[in-house]
Symmetry: C2
Subunit: 302 residues, 2 copies
DNA sequence: AAAACTGGTGCATCAAATGCAACGCTCATT
DNA sequence: AATGAGCGTTGCATTTGATGCACCAGTTTT
């Protein structure tokens, strides 16, 4: 869309931090880009960049403007999606930010099911930690977020929620495997691997231990739940994962045991969108199917 | 703003109903305008006009797109107003749609009070019947609406409400002037003038008489409450107006008497905005002062 | 002090938007 | 049936506005 050209340039300048670098990125001369920005600022009525000796930076006015542009760009996509819908095309693109735990089973299953019904719909699945997922919504990079225990919750409008207990993942022959549920302190007696601090599971573990004398002493710390699960197959340690990310098969040699809710209350897995935003048709429809699926999980678990 | 040029052209074509007429209005050639629209449609991905032998008309996709443009234009104004605010300029423009009853006293008083504090803020006051006021909100022509008994209430988000009883307006020497309140049927025994059917007062009167044997037989029907009030000074008839529009002085020779609520329940005067929209700083602030004023009226009347 | 950046500007150049004239079409009138 | 007025559309010459290049003035790094 041509009328958003200025926006693209402004965003590029913001990212690059200097007009010249941005000009290079956008395959244009610095002078041309500079003039575009000057013209825009003059039309807009206010400067949107702070000129510094080493480059430029968005000023508060520019931040506001950028947010406006992002919202308008996303709303235009919504309109296009709606038009496609009334033209009977039923196509569109859905961008969803989610925690790692959703990536092995839950999301692939539901996306694939949705795509058999609507083959014209395409997806972007962005694996994000809980803070980044919210940021994705705010910057309109994702339409939906499916995230465990979000941080800020401002501009986050909850569409659905299900409780998720943290499970200890271990080998079948592990001493704790005999129990149907395990205590947190038992787990810490054994070598344990855990996610880095950006992740909700880590946050929940630390919150559970706050006020106790026990501390986390992970032998491995990683930002990949997939890696941690596989690592346990090699060293006889304990890893952690929420239930929705678990569907351990026989041949994997691993089993999972829920950590007693006496030690750790269940966390909330939330499906949400940017507050106040109207989602494109496709995203709204997919969100509905996710909500149904989550409610089914909820009643099925109870 | 240059990047909204296409929008202005599209809107002009919609209004004119033909590309050639619109081109004339916008001081451009038909061919140039035609090409702009073609280019836009190709970028957008869908046709937005229905080509007919006698001209063009927006198709549903076009309607959707126009609504998007209007919202985006209004949001850009909001951003500008917000930037002006953080630059300490405290300026902006407020467009308000209101019923006629607000025009003599209520709005002038509050607008003037607001402008003494913020001289940089300018106003558009659009007198509209109750249906048109809502339409103004939807098309983003007005930021706020202050209207008696709106019709549809879809996309209308209520900010504040006060009850308004209909008053009978008559000469001081009118027989009914002796009473402190009057019955509706008494009024109809005398010659009466009343607003045309687009207005809420007329609608309330008709609703009050529905199911009774009495009917309205106005000697004068007008769309100007101002005219009707002045007419009563000449012919000894009865006119109607809600309380907020009345502040009859001694020298006018007129008095007003409320119609008994046994005959007609009080109507609601609603302050509202377009649902889901974020108002510009100036409009939001002015709305707050109106809300305070309306609450004060509410408690003062009780 | 020199080098390497930055944003900003004058001027020639080039691409894109525009204006003009004409075409094909439909509809109302003759 | 013929005609003319109105419509959207298109080819081509023209003009406007955006771009690229060279350069300046300033600041930071070397």
């Amino acid at each position: 869309m041509k009328h958003l050209q200025d926006f693209r340039y402004i965003e590029a300048v913001m990212r690059a931090g200097s007009i010249r670098k941005a000009a290079d990125d956008m395959n244009i001369t610095a002078s041309a880009l500079n003039r575009r920005i000057q013209r825009f600022e003059s039309e807009f009525g206010y400067e949107i960049f702070e000129r510094m000796p080493r480059g430029v930076r968005l000023n508060p006015a520019g931040e506001l403007l950028l947010q406006h542009f992002r919202s308008q760009q996303s709303d235009l996509k919504r309109v296009q999606s709606q038009v496609a819908d009334l033209a009977g095309e039923r196509r569109g693109h859905i961008s969803i930010a989610c925690s790692q735990a959703l990536s092995p089973y839950f999301l692939p299953a539901h996306i694939s099911a949705y795509r058999t019904e609507h083959p014209g719909v395409t997806f972007s699945v962005n694996i994000r930690d809980r803070a980044a997922a919210e940021q994705d919504l705010i910057t309109f990079k994702s339409d939906l977020a499916l995230v465990l225990e979000p941080v800020h919750m401002v501009d986050f409008s909850v569409l659905s929620a299900i409780p998720q207990v943290v499970n200890a993942v271990m080998r079948k022959d592990h001493p704790l495997a005999a129990q149907s549920e395990v205590r947190l302190r038992e787990c810490l007696d054994y070598p344990h691997v855990m996610p880095s601090s950006a992740y909700a599971v880590r946050h929940m573990l630390e919150r559970a231990l706050a006020g106790t004398s026990r501390t986390l002493q992970p032998v491995i710390q990683s930002d990949s739940f997939d890696f941690m699960r596989h690592y346990v197959e090699f060293e006889d340690a304990i890893s952690f994962q929420i239930s929705i990310g678990l569907r351990l098969t026989e041949q994997s040699g691993l089993i999972s045991r829920p950590i007693s809710t006496r030690d750790m209350p269940a966390g909330s897995l939330l499906l949400g969108q940017m507050k106040g935003r109207t989602l494109p048709i496709a995203s709204a429809r997919f969100a509905e199917t996710l909500i149904v699926a989550m409610e089914r999980l909820n009643t099925g678990q109870t």
